[in-house]
């Protein structure tokens, strides 16, 4: 699924590295536990989370993830946005909950990773 289509489906706004939006993504993983993200995410996946600190960006960096979608209207601080920009990671934010976002995107054809 194209990241631009994901953005529109969940009415998200782009917070960092807008250049990265022209990319197709096939899987998504939703979690606030970064250790679980590190344990299970093995391919280029959209990370959906309500956590907005430095460690989310660092985790994405370690796994070469290209995009993060923040849910529940959580806004990261400026430093975190700048770190994402530096690491070329697209950040988006939506007011919807993780469950709702997952349901919408699943309905549009996006799938979870295999565990």
């Amino acid at each position: 699924m194209h990241l631009r289509a994901i953005k529109e489906s969940v009415k998200a706004t782009v917070l960092a590295y807008e250049k990265g939006i022209d990319l197709d993504i096939h899987t998504a993983f939703g979690s606030d536990l970064m250790s679980d993200v590190l344990a299970y995410v093995e391919e280029d996946t959209l990370l959906i989370t309500g956590l907005t600190n430095h460690q989310v960006i660092r985790t994405a960096e370690m796994l070469d993830l290209k995009a993060i979608l923040f849910v529940r209207g959580k806004m990261p601080c400026q430093e975190v946005i700048e770190l994402a920009e530096e690491k070329k990671i697209l950040l988006m934010m939506t007011k919807e909950s993780l469950f709702t976002v997952a349901g919408i995107l699943y309905g549009e054809g996006l799938r979870g990773i295999s565990i």
Binding site: L33, L38, N53, Q55, D64
Partner: protein, 148 residues
């Protein structure tokens, strides 16, 4: 069981990073530097990921649990060795600490998205060789080897 020791034979390059206790906003910087350095050496992307996960979990552990420590990376012709050492407080029961889901992390660690009891199991999972030794009041040493 193999004992923890550093092996200086055939090291092409060594990297060293100190990690401070409770330095939450900078946690991950050392791992980021290690990853970038190894990428410049054209190391395979899959190997790079495994090393990134191993060093990052180790770095987070040092920040959360230790009094401060260090990460050394030895780049060799057939593998990468990672040595993580700290000056305490040591792990009371290593076997328990290696169990998925077991955690003694603080609320601050949990707020960062860690402390789920997955750190050490993750490090072991991505390593071809994993050695952990810990002594109460002395510290913890971990060796991880990732073969090419």
């Amino acid at each position: 069981m193999k004992k923890y020791s550093r092996s200086d034979e055939n090291v092409a390059m060594k990297l060293h990073y100190d990690v401070l206790r409770d330095d939450f906003s900078r946690a991950g910087e050392a791992s980021s530097k290690i990853k970038n350095m190894l990428r410049q050496l054209a190391i395979d992307a899959n190997i790079l990921r495994r090393i990134a996960i191993a060093t990052y979990e180790a770095e987070i552990n040092l920040v959360i649990h230790s009094y401060g420590g260090s990460i050394d990376v030895y780049i060799k012709s057939d593998c990468i060795e990672i040595y993580v050492e700290d000056s305490g407080p040591g792990i009371e029961n290593v076997e328990l600490a290696m169990t998925k889901g077991f955690s003694t992390a603080t609320n601050i660690a949990r707020e960062m998205g860690f402390g789920a009891g997955m750190g050490l199991p993750n490090m072991e999972k991505v390593s071809d060789e994993f050695i952990i030794e810990s002594e109460r009041d002395k510290g913890t040493n971990i060796k991880m080897v990732v073969n090419y």
